[in-house]
Each structure stands twice: as structure tokens, then as C-alpha cells.
Assembly symmetry: C2
Homo-oligomer: 706 residues x 2
Amino acid sequence: MLNNFFNPKSIAIIGASPKKEKLGFAVLKNILDYDYRGKIYPVNLKYKTILELKAYRSVLEIKGKMDLAIIVIPAKAVSFVLEECGKAGIKNAIIISAGFKEIGGKGVILEKELSEIAEKYKIKIIGPNCLGILDSSNNLNASFADGMIKKGNIGFISQSGAICTAMLDWANLNNVGFSRFVSLGNKTVVSEIEMLEFFKNDKKTKSVLAYLESITDGKKFMKVAAELAKVKPLIIIKPGISKASQKAMASHTGAIAGEEEVIKTAFRQAGAVRVNNLGELFNIAKFLSRHDGLKNNRIAIITNAGGPGVISSDEVEKNNLKLASLSKKTISVLKKNLPPTANINNPVDVIGDAKADRYEIALKSVLADKNVDGIIFILTPQRVTEINKTADDLINLSKKKNKPILASFIGGCSVENETRKLNKSPLIAYDYPSESAFVLGKLWQCQQSKKAAANYLRMLKRNNLTSPYPLLAKEGKSVSPAPFKREDLDFIESLNILKSYNIPVVKSLLAGNSDEVVKLARKIKYPVAMKIFSRQITHKTEVEGVKINIKNDFEVREYYDKIHKKLGSKLNGIIIQPMTEGIEVILGVKRDESFGHLIMFGLGGIYTEIIKDVSFRLAPIDKAEALKMIKKIKSFKILNGWRGFPKADINSIADSLVGLSNLVSDHPEVKELDINPLMVTEKGCLAVDVRIVVKPISNPSREGNK
Amino acid sequence: MLNNFFNPKSIAIIGASPKKEKLGFAVLKNILDYDYRGKIYPVNLKYKTILELKAYRSVLEIKGKMDLAIIVIPAKAVSFVLEECGKAGIKNAIIISAGFKEIGGKGVILEKELSEIAEKYKIKIIGPNCLGILDSSNNLNASFADGMIKKGNIGFISQSGAICTAMLDWANLNNVGFSRFVSLGNKTVVSEIEMLEFFKNDKKTKSVLAYLESITDGKKFMKVAAELAKVKPLIIIKPGISKASQKAMASHTGAIAGEEEVIKTAFRQAGAVRVNNLGELFNIAKFLSRHDGLKNNRIAIITNAGGPGVISSDEVEKNNLKLASLSKKTISVLKKNLPPTANINNPVDVIGDAKADRYEIALKSVLADKNVDGIIFILTPQRVTEINKTADDLINLSKKKNKPILASFIGGCSVENETRKLNKSPLIAYDYPSESAFVLGKLWQCQQSKKAAANYLRMLKRNNLTSPYPLLAKEGKSVSPAPFKREDLDFIESLNILKSYNIPVVKSLLAGNSDEVVKLARKIKYPVAMKIFSRQITHKTEVEGVKINIKNDFEVREYYDKIHKKLGSKLNGIIIQPMTEGIEVILGVKRDESFGHLIMFGLGGIYTEIIKDVSFRLAPIDKAEALKMIKKIKSFKILNGWRGFPKADINSIADSLVGLSNLVSDHPEVKELDINPLMVTEKGCLAVDVRIVVKPISNPSREGNK
């Protein structure tokens, strides 16, 4: 369906105008100027012809089939013409007009009308409040942008029109081309989700860059992002890390940032690579316009100066890259051809008195070296440096494209012209080698993200569970109706739910009175732990509702009498448990209304609460992923048999995490869940305490409507 | 003394040449071309005149007094002419010639000759293997650089000639000026230490930038860096974070990187601000060429596009800056003059259809706002944006210099000309606002570093201790000869040393045989701990040499017999201690041969060994600093009365840390020292185990000679 946005055979431009100051003029002119081959129907009440084309008063007057409508009229009239588009059978519309959700108040109401009409007629809308779209392969400039994209294979989507404009302007100077270029605007119908899905299958698009202030539906986003990231680099700016920017976004597009930890986890699991600012995004665009990606992370540095080589070695490591070990052949060629004071190991230093020939020898041999995946090339202007010739040689050698060369001529006056030449060439040129290292690092992250994405998709498939209720029934107990009716489940219900997902729980007997307590305590065998059972009291410890290490009948009665007196009718019973040993870990779940359940793992007490040494995943996860989660925390060594600690049964923790993931996948109504502690021994683990809060999930609202 | 390098009344250029391809030509030409006003004496055996100046065969032939010699002749002849310089009474020499330490082998020998001659005649040498120096106030270009620095007040020193060249080339394009510009070369006599000292007192220099691959003498560096940083911004690239770059440096200049943790700690304590790469350094240079610094960190953003405003808000926070709360007056002016859809709070969004006038109003009111310390200005090229007029307005408004404006015109083709204009203007212009936020963050760090530097200097003063031995004598025991003769002090010696520095130690009695052990255990009162006392065994736990919680005579004898049988003559006795309670912390010291003693603090066991939750300071420290160290670790909450833990006596830990600092300041021969654990209770602390390793300090070698 989205294809008609990019490759329409005919376009109606509603609000097309002959007046140069109008956006409707700019849009029509852009469509005419860049050689669009389909039919063009200007629509405007006031004119009979516009720019020598016959004009229509309404789309309903137009006889031919229209694949796409572009609407550029005042906000208040948009729903009327959209309704006409629906009647005329138009299924794709770009609404450029502003004055909707982004201004609040009546704008919100106007935008709601649009989505209702869209639903009624099944119209796909890009916008409102957008710049439009551009497509290089179909010569389509359906926007009011000041210029056209160059041909290329990067797909670009942006929730900010100004960032589209800036990117376009920058890209044209730096010879960066795009397949499609989309300004999303308010995302009232078509969001990043549909666009990512389109780009995933789009043969013209080899990589996707995006600026997103909000994620429309976290779970859907993750799935489609992973499907794309599995096959193409996907790089996104998603601001909103700071409170200030969240506030700024709210006033900018009314978008809600989402919790940073959730976004970070979601991106990592789905294989979407995140960058922080426009400089980073633009630099990556330059790379991707010239190379598809980076297969491995072995980088060679060629320089005519030690200092910048040294700094760049640091930058290479900082960006998770490796300094390549040059092959014997390369080293022998360099040894033969470079002066004795040159450094023939990586970083290759052709030294300050190098002319173009020395650079050429070094570059050619490193390009041919199978141990090298990418080259950071550095020139500083010194007395005899042949800046211009070196630039020309570089450009020639980079045309072969067998591996990326990222070049920086560091300086000002002497390198100004060559830098301009390099920027326009097929080479990848940046002002500084630190930028090269950053970009290579991100491309390497893209390469690794393919695996992460594939892994995530596999987990989604595995999570094809049967209905959970038979599982619960196996236990022979009616646990709770689905969806749960109270927000806080009681302890016994919670334990039974854990059990039904194969999470081992400590033996827990419920006693109703003083005699029963003693009887059950004896049955369990001393020492025991006693915990209050109450449907009204959520936090047991706050009322001293837990007593451990109880050694005899007397202590049992003593505690029972005391707590019974204290709580009165709030006490619905007493839970008796045997004392447990092992290492305390915590498993937790918190639901994000957009991205689903965030699962947390950490060691008990201080480690989680003070050191914040925890790891996160969004459900669903499988066992391999659960094991990764466990191994990711710093304090993992403690579980792994550190100095006298027994080696904990990691497998049993992983099984419990998977159980938890299955539980929340089956029961989206779970809002919070904590197993604290889960006691882990050398063989097995036991949930000792658990708290489950349920609340029906709110409709995954499109953040656009908030 | 260094002043003669920059303001010599006369210069001898040894190796001056009329041949254009020679460096000796370039140097002489540079001195002539940039209007140096003093006397010039070319020295060369082959010519009678050079560039119309009378030439001399040797400095000894010259009658007048010479303030400075510049030597540009082959390496092997340098020591001969340097000797002549000495005889001629020249006290300052720049040796440009290469072929010394940096090439290894005989180069090292040649350089050693230079430093011997320098010592003999008290000659200050810059170089060898350097570009030379440039001074804008004295019109002196004593280098072979291709161009002259512009007037300004930044002092620049670099251990890489190529980085000098690149900086100079870049600075001239970007209108960045310098007071003095120094290529340090091999630092055989004059190192960064003397240069920083010179810049500290230099009225022409308001800030100092440096590229340093090695630090010549860590302790001296810290002192002079702190003295400078207390009054002027000091920003340094110090590479060597990665192993790869350490290797690259070794092959570049033979410099040793130094341990990263030590460097980081030293810079922080001395108030030197570190950056990682040339882009960062150059951007900061641009700021400092136009403004002296940043008084406070309240930043306003002005933009015509929401997206970049949102991203920049994140960047502001990331760089430890704050989004300023605009004054009521500013907000009311903005409300009155901007359209209703504009954002009148920070970030101020004048929105996409803003022309120059709207920007001007916003900028003027924010410039006048007392709540704002710096402004990040963003322009994206949109349909009606008046790029050129906005640039002109900006430049005009920035001339008042009441507060820094950091501007980015984000784009390519449309903003290319204006960007070039902005770069040359008194404005601070960068490609992206993320660079502005970074630079402001670093300048704010400089401002805060003034306090750190002052604090460090205060600590140095306080550390004026009397000889330690009387202190030891107070205890009435002969602890150990000074310097210590064995490398590992025994336990009793170590405890006594701690005591003499007011570090409380647990009562520890030494028993020689089975009967004595029982007697002393009873004296201390059960339960007790027993530890082997051995001068041969360093790690007690490895031989099961520690037994805790011993409850009676029988257990004492049992353990004694067992360990006596096991160790035989290696056992010199048994230490008996009472059992102690409290929270375990670790105090450690490790000596760095250049920077002195690195003191470490952390919680016992897991926290230090697995979580690496520790803090570092270089000695000396005072109590305030010790308290900061303690509070810096994440697990500090545990000491501060977290959930049932007693609130530990932080003061007593701080006193012990200060004691440790005094100990190592008095005894530089201490190589390693660990108090593990120090048991801390609600009142006081006790060192329970200690290990001290001593080794005479190696001569603080100039890394230049390695």
C-alpha cells in the first residue's frame, strides 16, 4: 500500500497554487521540476490553469484514477477535502498542512477527524504537519523542500521537518544520496512502524536512518525494527534522555519520551543502533552512501604524523574496534618502500616528509591486506606534503570500493580546497579521524546487531504458547480468574502462578490459628520462617510481618500472639516456610504500556538497591537470552563460585526467568512482579517471597493522540 | 629564564641557509618575514651572507650578546655547536634538528650529550626534534612552520610537531590567535613543567592548551598544573588510554604512557581538564580565542526547529550543564514578540517560519537575561529563513561579548557561505550544537577545576611534616631502620607504623610457643583470632594461616599444633587478636614512580574485588579530601546506615586515610600498603590486617631518556 506514496502513476495536488509564496506552489513546482513522469492534477477553487496545467475545483471532478493526493490547504478545510479524496477512491494522501495536534486544543480535534475519515475510507496518510516525501528512483519530489535528493540507497524518515531540510541541504553538499526521504509529521495514520516495514522489503533501500521523538507502539516497533535490522543497518536518533528534552519534545510535538531504560533495552534487543545527535547521523549517512557496511572490525590507520596516529589508536579502541595486525606481506612491502624511521606496523606512519608516493604505497598495500576491514587515513599538512596529489590518489584508489577508506586532512587553510573535493568524492571524508572511528564503531555495531535482531525474532516465534489456563489447572487449584480482579494477588495465589510456570517455590503452608500454626511448623520442621498472610497489607516488612529462624513451639506462639494482637482482622492467616539457604537473587518485572514487560535480574539486597548492578530484557526471552542476562551483571562472579561461595545453579535461575517471561506473555495484565528473594543453591533455586500486581493493560494508544 | 625564548633581543641561527629546500632557510625566512625587531646572526660555514645578512662561521665569531640560538644542522654536529653556544654565553637554545632519542640507538647517545652540555653551561633547550616556537606579541616565528600565528591569548604546547602544524593551519582559517606556540620535541631539557610554570605567570596568556604524550615528572607536573589551573583554563590531550596507542607512542617518541587510573586521578586533582581528540581541542581553542571562560552553567538554546532543540537539550544535560530558567522579563518579551505556536521557554523555538527579526528579538532578550551564562544558537535552513541576515545580526550582537554565543547553522549548500563567514567572525561557530554543548561543558569543568586545583595546592602546603622518626620513637619501639631493609615488613612492624600515624590497630599479641599462645588468648579473652607470624610467608591465607572465632584453650592448641607441624621453622610465632565487629573496608596504597602514591578506598571483599567500587586520590590528601573519597563510592550508602547496617564512623576512616597519606609522604620508600580489612563500627575503626612492601624509589627519570 505504501508503494503508492513513492511510485504513484498520478497525483492530485490539492491547494496547488501559482503564487510563489504559497507552499502549494512549491509542491507543484517540485513535482514538475524533477521530472516526475506520471499524471499531475492541480486542484484549486480559484484557478483554471496552474503552471500551464489544467486545474480542478475538486478531486471529484477528476476523471482518471488518482494514486496519491497531496493536501496543502489550511487545516480547517483538510477534513472536507480528505472526505472527497475518500469518495474519489484515493488511498494515499500526504497532508502537508500544519495546525493539528502540534498546536493542541482544536488542532487535536481536527486531527482526530482526519484519522476517522482515514479509517472510513481506508486512506493511508503521511502527516499532517510534514514536509512531504521525496523519492530518487521515481524522480518524485512531493514536498516543499528547497531541492531534490540525489540518487542513493539510504532510506530516511524523520519526525522533524527541519531535520529533513537540514539533512537534505547537507547531503547535497556532501554527495549523499537517498532512495526515499520521508517527513513523518504527526504520524496520525502512517507511523515509523509502517515505514520500517516498507523499507525492510524495499529493494532500493540498503540502510535506514531515522529521527524519532516518539515510538508509536513499542512492541510492534521492536518486531519490525528487528526484521529490518536483521538485513540492513538501522540507525536512529531517539532523544529524550534528559528531562529537559522530554519537556521540549512535549512542547514540540506532544510526544512522550518513554522511559530511557526501556528504550535502551528495546533498541539493543531489536538491533536498532542509536546515535545521539545530527553530526553523528550525518557522518553515518556519508559512510552508508558509499559503502553498505562493515564486515569485521579490524582497522588500519595510515598517517604522516605520530601524534594523530596515537590519538586515533585510542579512538579505535574506544569505539570497540581493533587495530588490525597487518599481514607479513604488507609489512614487508612497507619495510621495503618506507624510510627506516617510518612505523611499518599499525598505525602505519609514513612520517612527516612523506610525499604522495609514500602514502600511495602504504594505502595500496593496506587495501590489499586481508586482515584489514577499514582504513582510517590521516594527513597533516607539513612542509613537503603533497596535499592535492594525495587527495587525487586517494579518490582514485577509493573508487574500487573493496573496503572503506575514511580520510581526514587535519588543518585549515592548506587543506580547505582538498577537503571540499574529498567531501564530494566517492571517498568518505571527515574533519577528524575521531569521527571516522566513531562511524566505523557504529557500523560494526550494526553488523553485530544483525545477530541480536535475529535472536529477538526467534524468541518471538518460540513464544507461541498455548492458553495458560490449562497449565494453571494442572495444579488442581483455582488460582484466579483471568483477568485478575484484585490489583494485588495474595501470596498463595502468586506462589501457585509461579509454580504453574515451573518456577520452584519454597514449601509454604497456610495456618489459620495458633494451634494450626504450631502443627504446621512442626510438620515443616524447625527452624521455620513465619510470614503474615493478608489481603490488605502489601508490604509485610513494614508491619514486622516476617519472622525468621523460629526454633520451637514457644517462639511460634509468641510471634503469632503478638502479630495477631497487632493486626487483628487484617490478618487472614500465617504462612509457615522452612528456612532456606543459598545466594539471594531478585527477579522483577515491570510493564511498559508501549513496549511490554521489562524483566530485571540482579543479586539480592545491596547489589540491586545500592549498586544498581542489574540487567534488563523486554519479554519474551528464551533460555539463552536469560543466561546472557545473568552473566551480564558485574556481580555474576559471586554466582560463579567466587572465594568460598558455592557455585550457584545458573541454569535454574535462567529457567525461572524464562518462566517469568512466559507468565507475563500469557498474562499481559501483570503490571508488576517481584520475586525477592529467589534463593539459589548449588542445585536449584526457590522463590521465597513474591508479589504480583495486576491491572488491565491500557489500550496501546498512539502517542500521537496524547 | 624562559622569557628569552619568546622575547630575545638577538638570535643566532646556526644552520641558516640560502637554499630554499633547507629547514635553515625556512627558519631564517620566518624570522625575517614576520617582522622580528631584534638582531639576527645567521651562522653557516659555507656562506658570507645569507638573505642579505652577514653570516658567521661560528657563534664564537659573533661579538654581540646572543639571547637565543636556533640550531638547524645535522644531528651529529649539534653537540659541537651547542658546546660553542655554551662558551659564547648563550643560555637559550631551540634545537630543531631531528635524529636523536626518537630514532633510538646512537640518537639516544647524541641526546645524552646534549643534556650534559646543557647542564655544564646551564643552557635551557627546547627540542631537539621540534618545529620551533612562535610568539605573536614579539612577532617572533622561530620555527619552520608554514605561516605565522595570529595575535591572541592562548598558550599552546605540543609534543607533536605535526599537531602544531595542523593546529596553526586550522587556527588561521578559523581566526584563532595565540600568545605563544611551542613545539616541545623530545623535551631533553625544557619540558611541559617549565612551560606550564612560564604560562602561569605570563600576562599575555589567558588559557593553556596542550598535547602531551608523556608527563615528565608526575609530582612536579601536578603542582605546576594546579597552580596554573587555579587561575587559567588548562586543557590537555593526553593519549594512551588504549594499549594500542601506548604501543604507537612508544614507537613514536619512546614515551611511556603511565597508568590510566593514575593519570585520570592526577588530572582531576590538579584541575587539568582532559579532552580526547583534536576536534575537541580545536573547538575549545575557538571558544577560548573569543571568551575567557564560563562563569556558571546555565545555558539557553535558541532554535528555529524543535528537533534540534530537543537533541541539544539532551546534549546540554549530558555535558553537566543546565537549561537556564529564563527570567520573567525574557519570557514576557518573547511572549509578546513571538507567534503563539513558538516555544517561549528554554529551548526557545522561534519556529520554522522565523525570519531574522524574530531571531534577533529572542537573542537580544536572552543575552540580557541574568539567568543565562551561555547561548547555543541553532539555525536550520527552511523556506523563509534569512540565513545571511541572521548571520550578520549574530555577528553584530556577539561583538558585545557579554556572554558567549555558540552558533550552528545546520545544513550544507544553503549555509556554506554563512558558515565560512561565522567561522572567521568574533562569534563561536561549530557545525553542530552538540559541539557547542561539549565545549561549554568543558569550560564549565575548567571553572570547577579552579577549586580542585586550589584545594590540591592547599593540601600540598599542609603536608609540611617533620621527620617521621621521632613520631615512631614515641611508641617506644624500634620499628625498622629507614629506609627499610626488607621488602616485606613483618606484621608487628607494620602495625606499629600504622599506630604511629594514628591509625587504630586491633590489639595483637605475639606468642612464641603453645603455652604462650594459650596464655595470651586467655588474656585477650575468647573468642579470638589466630594468625601466623612469619617473615617468609607473605600471603597468610594461602597456607591457612588465619583462624577466626576460636572459643577455648583446646581449639587454640589444636590450631597451633596443626600449623606448627605444617610450617615448621617458617613459623616465627602466632599473633592473637580479639574478634572484631563492624563493616569491612579496604585502604590501599600503590606507588607510581612518577606521580607518587595512589591511595585507594573501598568496601571490603566483593565491593572492591568484583564490583570495583573504589575511589582514588594521589597523596597527599587532607581530611576533607578523604571524606570526599569515602563518599564517592556507590556503596557509601552501606556505610551511611542503610537498612539495619549501623552508621559507620566515617570520620575515623577519614582520619586513617589522612594517616596513610602522611605515612607515605614521610616514607616514599613504601611501594605498596594494604589495610584489609579495616573494621569500622559506629564509633571508631580498627586495622585488623596490614601488609607493607617497601622498595627504594627509583630516580624520577625523565621519560625522555628511556
